[in-house]
Symmetry: C2
Subunit: 80 residues, 2 copies
């Protein structure tokens, strides 16, 4: 079973990496780019076939390790 | 207009960061986690309302700056 987790900075948190990429894109001539935010994309492969506790487990993994919930949000998709 | 870009390591390319996260998840007790791959998730805000050349432009941005196409793949979604 595959789970895709997206971790993004919360709104209002400064994203210097995104700012640098925006600046580079503008310099390369892509003047239409107004804002860039950079996050993480994490693919998990699980051998767990019981979906019972899966939601709970994924949230727990994100809260404990994958995301820093003080400054980051996460969302996920489960591919069956 | 918002564009979401997903940059992932190509299959076969080693992902030490993913390996470290997998190991940490296993150590935390999530033994069902068999593999972890870590990529980038990039949100672009564009003020360009013409969709004519948009596909072409996004591919160009990815090839030039956002992804290293020797070791990484990318895909994107356009949110209208």
């Amino acid at each position: 079973m595959k789970v895709r987790v997206y971790v993004t900075l919360k709104e209002g948190i400064l994203d210097p990496q995104g700012k640098a990429v925006k600046h580079s894109l503008n310099t390369l001539g892509y003047s239409a780019v107004e804002d860039v935010r950079i996050g993480k994309y994490i693919e998990l492969n699980l051998n767990n076939n019981s979906i019972d506790k899966l939601d709970f487990q994924i949230k727990e993994m994100c809260n404990k390790l994958l995301a820093n919930t003080i400054i980051e949000d996460f969302r996920y998709e489960i591919e069956k």
